[in-house]
Symmetry: C2
Subunit: 87 residues, 2 copies
């Protein structure tokens, strides 16, 4: 079993009010030196079986069609190794 992470972020040209709200609050809370904040989503998928090219292609399709709105969002798919204590 392996973990695949799909990160979904608003495209750079799309306004991100959530991120802006965080960024504007930071100086008030005593944190300076952060010029921009973008907020997005992170999905951790536990995949049964091997994460081969076919599996990754399916997850890419899944992310594109279902997890991200590709009109306004970009996504990345990454494989994260998982300690396989049970094997």
């Amino acid at each position: 079993m392996a973990r695949v992470v799909v990160d979904v972020m608003l495209k750079p040209e799309i306004l991100d009010p959530q991120g802006q709200a965080v960024q504007r609050a930071l100086p008030r809370l005593g944190f300076d030196g952060i010029s921009d904040v973008r907020q997005g989503k992170r999905f951790e998928l536990e995949v049964d079986g091997p994460v081969d090219e076919a599996a990754l292609a399916r997850i890419h399709e899944l992310a594109e069609s279902f997890l991200a709105n590709t009109v306004i969002e970009d996504f990345t798919v990454k494989v994260e190794e998982v300690a396989e204590a049970a094997k």
Copy 2:
């Protein structure tokens, strides 16, 4: 300028209804072999100046006190290198 990424996920023992909804929808949409889905938040912070230990410590504090609810959420802080074309 560098980018620091803060990932905030619900702790493993906390129920994640958003992730469960995604996981349950997948077979219906034709995607099998995903045994679990967890959904969390990803913050991308653009940091002015060098990301040294002091800056990372401050971002860690920021994440702990402001971006994550540490009663129910875990977070990780990662530095992502940024192509510095302007330098």
